[in-house]
Every structure is written in C-alpha cells, then in structure tokens.
Amino acid sequence: MGLFALFSRWPLLRQLRNKDSTALGETAMSARSEKLAPRTVQADKVVRSICPYCAVGCGQKVYVKDGRILDIEGDEDSPISRGRLCPKGAASFQLVTGTHRVTDVLYRRPRAMQWERIPLHKALDMIAERVKQARDSTWESHDDKGRTLNRTLGIAHLGGATLDNEENYLIKKLFTGGLGIVQVENQARI
C-alpha cells in the first residue's frame, strides 16, 4: 500500500491527468501546503494586552495555547494603533518568551564571585529583614530643629516606567506611606 500510495501521490501523475503542461501551480502543491493555516487558529484564547515599550500605547493581541504564547501582534480594534506595531512592539514575542529570561531568584553574597539560586520566599524574608534593619538604623524622627521628619534616607527606590499603575501605587504606599522612605524615584525623572 505504502508504495502504491506514494506513487499515486506523485505530482507528475497529477500533471499528466490534469494536462498541466507547466506544473507551475496547484499540480505541484504538496499536502502540507494544502493544509497550511496560520498558527493563531490553534489558539485556545486571545488575550488583549498593551505594548510594554514606549508610551504610544498600542494594542496587542496575545495568542495563547496550552499556557504558551503562539504569537503577539497588533490589535486592530485599538483606535490609537489600529493594529500596527513598531519593530519593538513586533518583537514583544521574543521579549516575553526569549531564553534571556531569568526564572530563578538569584542571590549574590557580599564579596562573592557568582550568583546562587535561592527560593523566592527566602529572598523575600531576607529582604524584609534588611529593610527593617536599614530602616530602624537610619530612622530620622526629627531634624535638628526639632521638626518632625518621620523618615529614612537609608533606603532608596528606583522604578522603571514599564511598571503598572497599580504597582507604582503599592510602591509609593508601602515605601513612603508605610515605611517612611523618601527617596522613591522613577524613570520619569530620567
């Protein structure tokens, strides 16, 4: 059967059958080509997103299948971008799925020559302790004129401007409102 089937699929036979003298078109088409479809049709969901690069705010559609991203492209519905993307936006797929992503928490001891991996919860505990220690040891409740300061200058923060508003809100709330950290700064300054 195998051999016969193979033979019967021989495009030359089709060419003869169809009296196609040049075989430039359909005759020469392979089975794969006939079935060809964009990979986005396999997506089990299409998620609306916004490009993370500049501030134009282009709409993006993220095609997902089995928890993996198939494709990211422009959202035609967006009245700002109308489905278009710049090279950076078009490269978002590589940004979020690339092998450059680090997926472990890394820790570098003082004076160490290399990173080591530590669990996230441990890192959080360590950081919380260090924040407390640094805050407590640098706390300024008053200045030399006796005016209330209620702050620490021993800890600082610098945030990128690709953070969500909700994240920025928590940064300011926790660091400034909760911990009295003044030096909370942002890309917007830079």
Partner: protein, 891 residues
C-alpha cells in the same frame, strides 16, 4: 511635566495622538517622533496626507526630518532662543489670536511694580536669593494679589522658601486682580512678554541657534498661517526638550507660543508630550517620585507641613480647582491608613515622611556614592546604563549594603559587581564589593494584569495571558508579599515610628494558585470609594474631606466608576467616533482633549465649523460636543465671577483653564517655576559659545553636583572638548537596552554603538565611515563606530562654525550585543524644577581609533587640565549660581 502643568493646569499632554490628524501644521521639536513613537507618528503622517505642513526642528536630520516638509537644523540646547524668536515674531507682527489671548490667557493681568525682567538684570529675574541660589516668586505676582498666585501643576513649590505659603490660604483676591483688556498697560503680562522677547529677533535666533534667518521666518510664517479661527497647529515634544538644565522652560516657551496662537484646547492643536515608556505618564500621575503623592499632591516639606492644616493651607487655593485640595489629601490618607486614619490623628498625616530638600535620583546616587544609603530597590530600571554618569552610578551601588534588582534578565545593574568595565579591567575586584545583591525575576506584561497610562493620559488595562515562568512574579506580587512580611515584622512594635506600617491597609484579595494580589482591587482603591459601604465613587467630584471617602489617586477617580474596570473597555475604534471615548479611560474624567472649553468662543460657539469640538448647548443648558467637556458642565459662557467669590465659583464662563487659580492659560507664570516666570535663553552647562543675550551664562537656579567624580568642562569654548554632543534613541532599541539588546530580532538591526558626524567633522577629526572613534568628556571615554553623514552638519553661529555629533545611548556590557554606555560621558546636572539631567546638550572631543584605557572620573581618572593660557570662565554673574556645597566626595 510642570511645564504644561504650570501653563495650563495639568501635567499631561493637552491632546491625544489621533487628534494630530486634524492639525494644519505640526511642529515636532525636541522629539524624533518617527523613530521613537513610530505608531503614534501615523497620525502625523495622516495629517500630512490631509495637507498639513510638517516641520521638524532638531540638531540632527532624523527619520522624522526625512518625512518633514521643512527641516530646520539647530544647535542643541538653543531651543528657547528659537521659540522666543517665534514669540517675538507673533507679537511684533500681530499674528496672535487676539480674542483668545485677551479672554483665555493671563495676558491682560497686570503685574506688581517691583517685577524686574532679565532684560533689566542681565539674565536674572527679580527675587533671586544668592544665598540659596533660588528664586522667590513674590515679585512675580499679579498686582493686588494676596501672596503668591497658586499654581496648579507643581505645587510643592509653595513649600519652598520664598514661595511664601506659610499656612495661609492664597488666591482669595484673584477676582480683584486688575486687568487691561486692551493689553496696553505697560505692566500687563502682554507688554512684559513683548519686552522680555524684544531682542529675540530673527537675526539673534540665527546667531544663537545657527538657523538661517529665512528658514526661521518660513517656520514662523507657516505656523501663523496655520493658526487662528479656521486652522490649528500642534506641537510635539519629547525628552529632547526636557533633558536640559532649563528643560521645563522649553515646554513653557512652547506653551506660550500655543496660547498666543490660540491652539490649546482645540482639535488639531495642543502640545503633545511624547513620553518614552509604557506607563511613564502613569508613574508621574501615581508617582514614584520623591516630591509627589498620587495625583500631583506635593509631598510635605518639613518646614511647612508639620500639621495637616498648615500643609493644606499651603497647598490649597482659594480659587480654581485646587480649592478641592483638602478632599483629595484626606481621601488619600484614608486610602493609605484606613480605619487608623481619623480626624483626631489628622488622618495619619504625620506618618507621611517629610522632605527637607532635593531627594531626587541624582542626589540619592551621590549620597549612595558617599556611603549614606544602605539599601536600594531597582525595579524594571537599569540606571548604570540609563542614568547619567554610569560609572558614578556603579560606584554608588558598590557602596550599598544590599541591592534588590527586579527585571526580566541580568541587566548591567544586576551585574555591576562582575561584568562592569572597571571590574573586568581589574580596577575594582568583586571580592572587595560588599554589596549583597538580590535578583528577583519579574513577570512580563503578558504575565500580569494592570493598567498602563500612555502618553495621552489614557489608562489601558492589559490582561494576563499566561502564568509567569518559574519564580518570576509581578512587581505587584513582590511588593504585596514584601509588605505582608514587613507588617508582620513590625506587628508587635510599640514604637511610634512603626505606627504607619501597622496602620497601612494591605488586605488585598488574592487569586490564582500562587495567591497573587488582584490588580483590579488596587485599581478600585485608586478609583476611590465611600468608606461606609465600599462602593466605588463615580469620580473625584464625589470625594469628601471628612473621611467618608477613600481614594488612592483623585486624578484617576472614575476609572472604576460603577464598579466597572473602565480602562479595560475595548470598543473597537472603528465602531466609535474618532475621539473613541469608549476605548480605555483617560484622566481626568475620561476627557481626551484637555481645556476643550477653549475650542468654543466667548459665547460658547465653535470658533469655526472646521474646528468644532465642544460647545454650549443653550437649550439643554450644558456644554456638549465630541468629547467630555473639560468644564463645569452646566456653567453658561455668560457666567461671571463676582468679587470675593471662592473656590470653583471663581471660574467664569470664559475661563477654560479651570485648574488654574484664575482660570486662564498662563503666558506668564507668577508662581510654580523655580527658574523664572518666563522662559529665557540660557546656555547648557557645557556650551561652545558664551550666552549671546545675557551676562548670565546658565540657568541661575540649576542644580549642580560639584564632585571629583563628576567633573564639568569649562562653561563655554573648552578647547579640550570642542564639539557639541546630543544623545538619543533609535527605533530599533529601547532606552538602556534591557528590553531590546537581548532580542536578536532587534539587535541585528542596530548591533553597535555609533557616533554620527558630519563629513566636515570627519575630515577635521580624521574619522572614516565605519571606523572606530573614541569619544571623551571629563567624565570618561567610550569607543564606538563612526557614521559619516550629511544628516549632521556644522552650524554657523555668527562667524564661527560649530560641530555637533550624535550618540545613541542603548548599549552596555550585558545583552546579546554589547557596547560602551554613552551615559558614562554625561555628568550630573539638573533642572531646578524636576531635577532632570542635561543629556541633550554637552560637549566632547573625538579621536580616531579605539580607546586605549577606559578612563572614568568616578574611578579615579583625573581629566586633563586646561591648556596653558586658557582660564575657567564663570557660568554665572557675580554672586549668582548654585551655592558652594561642602565637598561630599570623600575620596
């Protein structure tokens, strides 16, 4: 963006990108829009296709210039002279929009008698305090005002010494300010403006900017021809304007031009601030900035804000929108501290830390380098490449006890202790760096949900598509977990200092297998709710100052109106009007085009059919139109404030700038600006030429960091560094490269750092296209490739030839493509209003060939001394300038 905030009332782009298509002329200046905002640029192209004239003014001929009808080269750092020249032209030739100027701007307001202009004081305004190096604005006031006119966009200025708040509510007499609607009074703003720019003639513009006179006149004429009742022109700018030691005044200058031409608040007009990051507008609105609380509420300064009442009086205004100030701050404190915030404890106001000076990024890093900072969080940011004097940034990091970096991959900042040039070279050994470093893998935008605020103040929700890999988490999740741990650590404390963290509301609902906090719950808190029943408020007008409402950011109030996630609205653009009000949600109150009351004339009729946008519907007694009217909805055009009116009653029917204390667009800024009420041409700190107009060379109120690790060049004409250099971005990369240099699809398009030089300079410096070149400043040296191109041309300033070179700044020492970091060349200097650095104009030298050393001032290199016979020249008039600081640099 105080430049816009002070002039119009709100620190955000006055228009939206789609509206650029309606413009008849677009001036892009201080921006390379086609390269940095290509998708937004489609609206500019659309305008061009509809017949608009596109003008690009820039030191370099860029991909934007290639699309422009007119390209004007100018010397980097001379934009105020150019814009001042436009103002001069408008006034001299009477091309301003008379009715608009008289009624909608503060042109008729009469100033105090003791105001002195830069024309009188050789580059200085009255009110300068040589002790502190700062201005006090009391002489800049309207006649008859009680103290300082409250400014809208940059309120912490009130707390600055000399701004004269001192616990009194100001602006009570705004309705009594004398005005001369004939604009003839010698002390009216209009005449002051005229005098201030009297010398900014086309010849002087040409002399300072290197712009041929005819070309300047062509721009001025085109702009005027395309403004007025029937036509509107728009300005687009970006960091090419802001990153100067007089950056904010650049924007102020454009604001003046646009107000004079009557282009603000009208379709196809406005000033489009083009911001460079997905949510950079958002990070000033809900700021992670030391001097602001959410919604442009200023952080309290220790001297003026010991008690809530004092703080409120200093910051509220008796008139205009900021009369609502108490509602916003109390609601914010309620959102922060919940039930613990009571009237009795002043809603927890004293838990908010107090400022004593400049705590901005560069000050922080300088302190860090001096060992005064123990811990540092860097989230989604790469300061050793993206910030000035990268080597000094690294030096700072070396002095920390601990550093937390949250990013997608190992950025230069995360790897500063191992891969930095000084480490590879052996100047610094990793064994000697005691900094503990935590790297927290971050979730990408597809792995979390939340809102970005784009360049047109539009909040857009992005949904989560997939789970973050491994231990990568959103910063939201990280902060939530960190906050929980800290609350636990401090739970048992009895110390007063720990009351804030104990009181902080932190009970966000979680979801998913990883129990991550719900971003939507945070958005709800930002929107605000009534405390009693937790129901979301529909907007900031519902906020109260009695503690019955809580709101995380009054400016964003309404984004969760009716319990609906408004930023997540995605009604397709093609199914709406061109304004597309049902896509996402714009602050304030979903208005897309700000100050749109100004699109109608005094009687509330559109200025012209062609430029119809918002108008008064007399039958319904309401403002109506394409957009949400940016005005008190039912206030008729005929309404006039009475003497003694307070609060919003002060806003007359012809006051389109309702955030302002006087409801007017500010040609002249009686307060709010740290460096003068009117934009004035000052040279960059490093310039090839002396200031042609004034004895005062540079911005007298600028910030400087005089340190050995931050050396500066001679003020002008430094023979060691003869060329002007400007830095910029390329389409193919993103800022410090953390999101682009790791991507092969982008890196292959711009693989190497290069310097762009003119053929003339290439000949002079013996550089060859594609060859190597070393660029020097006193801060350090970098090597790069050379691109020889006519896109750079030497300029003629009077009789002298000035060469300019261009350097993109995306490269660093990790990533799929590497290169030296341009920002290692740039020193710490700052604009006094926003502490932004001057990276768009400084000086350098070029030598052919690769660098032989890799010198950095921050790591001990001493720049070469001035050649014999050449002496330092002052940046300031006698007795002027930043005060001498005690040497901070301990090495």
């Amino acid at each position: 963006m105080p430049g816009l905030g002070i002039s119009f009332g709100r620190g955000g782009a006055t228009t939206f990108q789609q509206d650029l298509a309606n413009a008849d002329c677009i001036v892009i200046m201080g921006s390379n829009m086609a390269e940095c905002h290509p998708v937004g640029f489609q609206w500019v192209m659309e305008a061009r296709e509809r017949g608009a004239t596109l003008i690009h003014v820039d030191p370099r001929f860029t991909r934007t210039s290639a699309m422009a009808d007119t390209y004007v080269p100018l010397r980097a750092g001379s934009d105020i002279a150019f814009l001042g020249g436009l103002i001069h032209y408008l006034l001299e030739n009477e091309r301003y929009f008379h009715d608009y100027v008289v009624h909608y701007t503060n042109a008729p307001a009469i100033l105090r008698e003791d105001f002195q202009d830069t024309e009188d004081l050789d580059g200085l305004f009255s009110g300068y305090d040589p002790e502190t190096g700062k201005y006090g604005p009391h002489t800049w006031q309207y006649e008859g005002m009680d103290g300082v006119v409250p400014a809208a966009g940059h309120k912490e200025v009130f707390s600055e010494p000399g701004a004269g708040g001192h616990g009194k509510v100001r602006g009570k007499h705004i309705t009594e300010v004398p005005r001369d609607k004939t604009l003839q009074h010698p002390r009216c703003v209009f005449q002051v403006l005229k005098r201030h720019y009297a010398r900014y003639t086309p010849d002087v513009v040409s002399r300072i900017c290197g712009v041929p006179k005819e070309l300047f006149l062509k721009v001025a004429k085109t702009l005027c021809d395309n403004s007025g009742r029937e036509r509107t022109s728009a300005f687009c700018y970006a960091v090419g304007w802001t990153q100067h030691s007089v950056g904010v005044q650049y924007i102020r200058a454009a604001a003046i031009v646009q107000l004079l031409l009557g282009n603000i608040g009208r379709p196809g007009g406005g000033i489009m601030a083009l911001r460079g990051h997905a949510s950079i507008q958002g990070s000033s609105d809900i700021p992670t900035l030391y001097n602001l609380l959410p919604g442009y509420i200023p952080m309290p300064h220790a001297p003026d804000a010991q008690r809530l009442a004092q703080y409120i009086h200093n910051n509220e205004s008796a008139s205009g929108w900021w009369s609502q100030f108490p509602k916003y701050i109390v609601s914010l404190l309620k959102a922060y501290y919940g039930d613990a915030a009571t009237k009795k404890n002043e809603w927890g106001f004293h838990w908010i830390p107090k400022l004593t000076g400049d705590h901005s990024h560069m000050s922080t890093v300088a302190n860090m380098a001096d060992g005064q900072v123990k811990g540092y969080f860097v989230m989604g940011e790469n300061p050793v490449v993206g910030s000035m004097n990268g080597a000094l940034q690294r030096k700072g990091l070396q002095k920390l006890e601990w550093l937390v970096v949250s990013d997608l991959t190992l950025t230069e900042t995360a790897e500063f202790w191992r891969s930095a040039p000084e480490v590879l070279r052996g100047d610094v050994r990793p064994q000697d760096i005691q900094t503990e470093v935590f790297f927290i893998p971050a979730a990408a935008h597809t792995e979390k949900e939340g809102t970005f605020t784009n360049t047109q103040r539009l909040l857009q929700w992005h949904h989560k598509a997939v789970e973050a890999p491994g231990e990568a988490r959103s910063d939201l999740s990280f902060l939530y977990e960190l906050g929980r741990r800290l609350k636990k650590l401090y739970a048992d404390s009895r110390e007063e200092k720990d009351r804030a963290i104990q009181a902080l509301t932190w009970d966000y609902p979680t979801k998913g297998p990883r129990e991550e906090p719900e971003a939507e719950a945070v958005l709800r808190e930002i929107n605000g709710c009534t405390v009693a029943d937790g129901k979301p408020v529909s907007g900031f007008t519902e906020l109260k100052d009695d503690g019955s409402t809580a709101c995380g950011c009054w400016l964003y109030s309404g984004c969760y109106a009716d319990g609906v996630n408004q930023p997540a609205r995605r009604k397709p653009g093609r199914e709406q009007t061109w304004v597309a009000s049902e896509w996402g949600w714009a602050w304030p109150a979903n208005r897309r085009l700000l100050y749109n009351r100004a699109s109608a004339d005094l009687e509330g009729r559109p200025w012209s059919e062609r430029k119809k946008y918002v108008w008064w519907d007399a039958q319904r007694g309401r403002w109506t139109g394409e957009d949400v009217p940016d005005f008190i909805a039912d206030r008729p055009p005929s309404y006039r404030a009475d003497k003694g009116d307070r609060g919003l009653d002060v806003i007359s029917g012809d006051d389109p700038f309702l955030m302002q204390a006087d409801g007017k667009g500010w040609l002249f800024a009686p307060s709010g600006m740290m460096d003068g009420p009117l934009p004035t041409h000052y040279e960059p700190l490093e310039s090839p030429v002396p200031n042609f107009l004034y004895g005062q060379q540079c911005n007298p109120a600028r910030h400087e960091w005089r340190r050995k690790d931050n050396p500066m060049h001679r003020a002008w004409g430094d023979p060691r560094y003869p060329y002007v250099v400007t830095t910029y971005r390329l389409t193919e990369h993103h800022t410090a490269g953390g999101m682009s240099r790791w991507l092969s699809w982008l890196s292959e398009l711009q693989p190497e750092l290069f310097v762009e030089v003119s053929p003339e300079l290439a000949e002079e410096a013996e550089l060859e296209n594609g060859g190597w070149c070393t660029v020097y400043t006193a801060r350090g040296e970098i090597e790069c490739r050379v691109l020889v191109t006519e896109r750079m041309r030497p300029l003629r300033l009077g009789g002298r030839r000035v060469h300019q070179v261009g350097l993109p700044y995306h490269w660093g020492y990790t990533g799929r493509v590497h290169g030296d970091s341009t920002n290692d060349l740039i020193g710490f200097t700052a604009d006094p209003n926003v502490s932004i650095q001057e990276s768009k104009a400084f000086t350098c030298n070029l030598l052919p060939g690769r660098r032989s050393h890799d010198r950095r001032a921050a790591f001990g290199w001493e720049p070469w001394p001035l050649p014999p016979g050449v002496v330092e020249v002052p940046r300031d008039l006698e007795g002027v300038g930043p005060p001498e600081q005690p040497p901070q640099d301990k090495e």
